[in-house]
Amino acid sequence: MTAFLQSIMGRLPIGWLQLSYSKTRLAAAIAGVSFANILVFVQLGLLGSMNASIIKSYNVFDADIMISATDANTMTEGGNVARQWMFQALSFDEVISGAPLFVGIAMWSSPTGDTALQTFGVDPIRVDFLAPSIAKTVTNLTLLDTAVMDRKARGLTPEVAAGIRPHSPYRFETAGRTLTVTQTFEGGAGFAADGYMFVSDQTFLRLFGKRKSGAPNHILLKVAPNASVAEVVTKLKTVLPVDQLRIRSFMDAAREDQKYQMTQKPVGLIFGFGVVIGVLVGIVIVYQVLSTDVADHLSEYATFKAMGYGQSFFLSVVFEEAIILAVLGFGPGILISMAMYKFLAAMTFLPLQMTIATALMVFFGTLAACSISGAIATRRLVGADPADLF
């Protein structure tokens, strides 16, 4: 290691030699950086899983424009929309089709406990508004009290899910009715619910007795292939009452949902705060290590000053230490985090995944945090006065 660093730095790797001189302190410093990395990774993982689960509820559909109530900040929140606006939107040549979307949470007393299923009530004939993977499963929904269920929902064991077929359906009770599940699709648990379920709009209205057929949660629209979604949205806003409706492209709706949940909802804020705390913990730990190291070597630094070493040399030593700690701490940090992701995903069914982007972001963030710590620690170097050596 010393020879390698010496060859790339063109000088003795004083920082590394100082760090490795005290193995216990080095191990503690690496553990500290790794701990901060794990904190950040876990919080980012949870944030990422929240984002992924939000997007998932949009990815099961195929639409260009979504019309919602003004308070519909997420797919599941907000009031209803009068279906008449869909018909008015269809009066535009560029709008080629529309479909109402009902959204509700159905509670299921599953074998493993209560399970909340985010339930979408759709027109089973209008499969063009569904993602292809979903569209092929909903043909049986024309039958009343039939459902397509998320095979990754909490409460549905993999064995039971694997056995669900149209000729070997799974039945369960919810809202006082018995639903027959004839097909499954791959969804996954999220922060709003334990899984997803598709039913026909007619079954939905029976499950949620207070809901009216003329007042869905959202209206989905498709525009002509050669039409611009943004331009159609602008046109719709000139005709439909924008004080009562949110008219957005479907992609914008998904992005705004993510942004809202990340910045306005407590869960998103808590995870974001957790990332900040992790970074601060890392900065404090590395600062403490570097600051103590500088203090311990003050007389040696003063000796080097007397020998003619300039301030840039001392800064380079401290930054060398910061970068070494960042690199050495990152390795165990990411490995332990990946193990924790697996554990948490198995326990919570949340889609926790270590992506290259997250890994790179945390790595460079660690380098930056360690450099900040190093920059603060270098203030102690001014105490290295060579005249004090005599």
Partner: protein, 233 residues
């Protein structure tokens, strides 16, 4: 930077104070001193006499307040930090407490005396020079030892090697024999004298140690900030 003159150190009317206000105390009074190139000069005197202050002023480690100190042809009164750093690179310092870097081996400590001139891909040349110097001071068999595994005398010899490895034009040594027994102390000073003769290095030594006076070319005694005796044995 000017070329060094035949007198590497010329001091004129040097006064120095410590503290400020009512606590301000004068440490040096009108000191005049010229050091000859290649000589070994010993500064003696009781504690508080000002010898270490003179040494630190000559070594660019303190700012000259009043009077003139010329080091290697450069005036230090009002000198810039850049000039001070550049001059320090031409000086070899030997400290009473060795001040070896505890995380570095003997070889690496000596290499630090060379590396001050900047980074280089050719670390091999530095390594060979450090090994050569350590062999000269009799530590050929201790080159990869950390300071904690060396005796006091061996540490001081590493410090000497570090100070001399870059062929400094002048060496400032502060009580280099204080922590050594008589034989080790004489060996260290003899080594300084021999290496100084071979390379034309000027050495200025601050010491209380009477045992090494026989090796000095000049002995200057300070008392209460003034030169009271200047003899050439």
């Amino acid at each position: 930077m000017k070329n060094p003159l035949s007198s590497p150190v010329v001091i004129k009317n040097l006064n120095h104070w410590f503290g400020s206000g009512e606590a301000r105390k004068q440490a040096l009074y009108d000191v005049d001193l010229t050091i000859e190139k290649g000589s070994i000069t010993v500064l003696m005197g009781p504690s508080g006499s000002g010898k270490t202050t003179v040494l630190t002023l000559m070594g660019c480690l303190r700012d000259v307040q009043d009077g003139s100190v010329e080091l290697l042809g450069n005036e230090l009164h009002g000198s810039s930090e850049n000039l001070n750093v550049a001059l320090r690179r031409k000086i070899g310092f030997i400290f009473q407490a060795h001040n070896l870097h505890k995380s570095l081996t003997a070889t690496q400590n000596v290499m630090m005396g060379l590396q001050v001139h900047g980074q280089t891909r050719n670390q091999k040349a530095y390594l060979e020079a450090a090994h050569h110097m350590l062999k000269l001071v009799g530590l050929g068999d201790r080159m990869d030892y950390l300071p904690e595994n060396l005796s006091g005398g061996q540490k001081q010899r590493v410090a000497v090697a570090r100070a001399l490895v870059d062929n400094p034009e002048i060496v400032f040594a502060d009580e280099p024999t204080a922590a050594l027994d008589k034989e080790s102390g004489l060996n260290v000073v003899q080594m300084l004298k021999d290496l100084g003769k071979q390379r034309g290095t000027t050495t200025i030594l601050v010491t209380h140690d009477d045992r090494i006076l026989g090796l000095a070319d000049r002995i200057i005694t300070l008392e209460d900030g003034r030169i009271v005796k200047d003899i050439r044995p």
